[in-house]
């Protein structure tokens, strides 16, 4: 199998390129995705290859981008639209919830919206307001939307291909601070990672950590630090990369917690009412008696994402995860 060492930006770009070559109904639009190749260069050179009919800049208006994607997808196209930054998803919130998520149900299956919204997501790049949000809570709450949040180049390619081929609207969250942070061997051939399947990154028997997006890296750092410390080196930690927020992989979560009896959930979004709460509720409903200690959530506090000066204090980090590990093992 031929592979290439790619970062997340390159892996997504490759997925888009290959899928556009394979499926002529795939089109890309959004703000600055054409000549500029997107502000993160994710769509770089795609307009050169596929032309302005298939890769084009939209006027500045996120609600319009979502609305046009709804119409185009109903009419047989497969749009992959970019919302420039997570915070501006809020301007398309209305169309996504009121229409994209409901069209199938409303028309009893006659009209459907198979399109993807790519959302550069999360903090850690010291950007301006509305440029550092992790919006999974808002989107995962809506029936009819699927939400994926990869953490590696390999997953990004496979999940994006699955998202584009999915019959329903998918919110594809890209952890922007990992865009160029990791390189990985990515197969050049076609492959998909099914939506709704979590990935056990590391098996263990004492404790389960569930994370997604950029938080997977923080969890890995915390585990490395724990294992580097002679006092805690013997701890056997299982790390699950959730990969898809909705629909959630209940089987993998429950199997792990039934095995380890201890659970830490790490989420970049605000703590209250987030996916971490949903996972905790799932475990309380279906695996309560296997728990040996209270479930812990490591999450951002319930405040507005601060400007860059306080960003590092706001974002959950390896230190907080280590503290949670210590608390779980008392």
């Amino acid at each position: 199998m031929e592979t290439q060492k790619l970062n997340i930006v390159e892996a997504i770009n490759l997925a888009l390129k290959q899928e556009m070559e394979r499926d002529p109904s795939v089109i890309i639009f959004g703000e600055d995705v054409g000549k500029d190749g997107g502000v993160f260069r994710v769509t770089d050179k795609l307009q050169d290859q596929f032309g302005e009919e298939r890769v084009f800049d939209s006027p500045l208006g996120e609600s319009g981008i979502a609305g046009m994607a709804i119409g185009l997808s109903i009419y047989g196209f497969k749009p992959v639209v970019e919302v420039q930054f997570d915070g501006f998803y809020m301007q398309m919130f209305d169309q996504m919830i009121q229409n994209a998520a409901r069209m199938r149900n409303r028309s009893r299956g006659r009209y459907t919206c198979p399109f993807v919204v790519r959302v550069p997501s999360g903090g850690g790049i010291k950007a301006l307001e509305h440029h550092s949000e992790s919006i999974e809570t808002y989107v995962a709450h809506t029936p009819g939307l699927k939400v994926v949040y990869p953490s590696t180049p390999y997953d990004a390619k496979g999940l994006l291909l699955a998202a584009i081929r999915d019959p329903d609207p998918v919110i594809f969250m890209e952890p922007k601070r990992l865009y160029r942070a990791i390189k990985q061997e990515v197969p050049l051939e076609d492959y998909i990672i099914p939506i709704g399947q979590a990935n056990v990154l590391q098996e263990g028997t004492d404790l389960t950590i569930i994370a997604w997006g950029a938080m997977v890296r923080e969890a890995q750092k915390a585990i490395a630090d724990t294992q580097a410390n002679p006092a805690t080196a013997q701890l056997s930690i299982e790390l699950i990369d959730l990969r898809t927020i909705s629909p959630m992989d209940e089987a993998t979560i429950l199997a792990s917690v039934n095995k380890t009896g201890r659970l830490i959930i790490v989420q970049e979004a605000n703590k209250t009412f987030g996916p971490g709460a949903e996972i905790a509720a799932l475990v309380a409903e279906k695996a309560l008696y296997s728990l040996k200690c209270p479930i812990q959530r490591v999450a951002a506090p319930d405040v507005t994402v601060p400007y860059l000066k306080a960003e590092n204090w706001y974002l959950p980090d390896a230190f907080q995860i280590q503290q949670a590990i210590a608390a779980a093992m008392i």
Binding site: E31, D32, G34, K35, D36, G37, V39, D57, P59, L60, G61, S63, G64, G87, F88, M90, Q91, K126, A127, L128, E129, H130, H131, K271, T272, P301, D302, V303, T304, P306, Y307, L308, K309, A310, E311, N312, W313, Y314, F319, Q320
Partner: protein, 374 residues
């Protein structure tokens, strides 16, 4: 008074200009020149313009040297902001987007606050008492509707104050822009919309934002006057904004001013316009530079007492040296502003909820442990 909105009807493709690119006053519109803009007043305006140009350049430099976050330059758009500063009253309200360093400063927001904001501290968005300026709006066009609400409030209170909002050409594609103009028309709000059409929304040119020939004409469908003005012409901008302010103060409602200008720099310090913009397109706009244009005007006119030209290289050098020092002091003050991370909890609600109080206490503990390590 001539009705400038009829005379410069955007549907007829006309644009208000008083000072030509060479700094000379145009014969056709010379009569429109505001009486208060004497040569001495223009010289004072030039000094404001030069200061904001230098403060803007400083912000770019601070970002380049890692002392500031991403910054959006106003370079090339100074005349619009000086004109608004000269015509707005202190008790008017300013509702800015993010490319408004100049007008924020002229409306009374200290430059130090503006730097503190771009350094990534919310405290920069807290204006001093008596200065009415909403925080910088990053979400495009969102603030335009707020300016309508404030303008409606002024009208309901039978005040003669005005809410003045700024946005770019890209904002006119957002739904909020259209709701703002529509509601301002329906409710005859005391609102002035100033669109700084700098021709680029990051990489997307103005021609791709709308199929309409002008942005000013969008006002007409909403039943309010619209006018396209040479945004690099201080005199023309002064006339347009003061006319719009007078209409609002008289209870006649809102106005849209399209300030036709150009973004001489990148979108922000995170952008590289070379990727998408032909450098040849920028060249003619360098000649239309609003700062150069005023220089030319002043160099061609003399002080009646001294008979010396109102602009000379020596005058420029003296101003530049003085402003450099002033700006350096401002930077030092901005950098010295203390930042307390737990402030992020204190303004979520009027009172801390029990859960937030706990989270705040947790962070305080964590800072005590982690801060020495950082």
């Amino acid at each position: 008074m001539t009705d400038i909105f009829q005379q410069f009807d955007p549907l007829k493709g006309t644009r208000l200009q008083i000072m030509g690119e060479d700094g000379g006053i145009l014969n056709e519109t010379a009569a429109l020149r505001p009486a208060e803009l004497t040569d001495e007043a223009i010289q004072k305006a030039y000094e404001k313009m030069l200061f904001m140009k230098m403060a803007d350049q400083k912000a770019n430099n601070l970002q380049r040297t890692g002392r500031m976050g991403t910054y959006a330059s106003i370079r090339g758009q100074e005349a619009i902001q000086v004109a608004a500063g000269l015509t707005m009253n202190r008790d008017d309200w300013l509702i800015p987007a993010f490319r408004e360093l100049g007008i924020m400063w002229m409306h009374g927001v200290p430059m130090e606050n503006i730097y503190v904001y771009w350094m990534g501290n919310e405290l920069g968005s807290l204006p001093p008492p008596g200065v009415n300026c909403l925080p910088i709006a990053i979400a495009i066009a969102s603030q335009a509707v707020h300016a309508v609400g404030i303008g409606m409030g002024m009208k309901k209170k039978k005040e003669t104050k005005v809410a003045v909002t700024f946005f770019g050409d890209g904002a006119t594609s957002e739904g909020d822009f259209h709701e703002a103009l529509n509601c301002a028309g329906v409710f005859k709000a005391n609102t002035v919309f100033i669109c700084q059409n700098n021709h680029w929304a990051i990489s997307v040119p103005r021609s791709h934002q709308t199929a309409a020939p002008t942005l000013a004409q969008k006002a007409i469908a909403y039943g309010i006057p619209g006018i396209q003005v040479d945004g690099n012409d201080l005199l023309a901008m002064h006339v347009a904004i003061s006319t719009a302010l007078a209409r609002a103060r008289a209870g006649l409602g809102a106005t849209l001013i399209e300030a036709y200008t150009y973004r001489l720099g990148d979108h922000t310090t995170s952008d590289d316009a070379k990727k998408y913009r032909d450098p040849a397109e920028v060249e003619p706009w360098k000649i239309r530079d609003p700062v150069l244009r005023l220089q030319k005007y002043l160099a061609a006119h003399t002080n009646p007492q001294t008979q010396q030209p109102l602009w000379s290289q020596a005058y420029e050098d003296e101003l530049t040296a003085r402003y450099e020092k002033e700006i350096e002091t401002i930077v030092e003050k901005a950098q010295a502003v203390a930042y307390n991370p737990t402030d992020i909890f204190d303004y979520t609600y009027a009172e801390l909820t029990p859960r937030l109080a706990q989270q705040r206490a947790d962070m305080t503990t964590r800072i005590e442990i982690q801060q020495p390590q950082q």
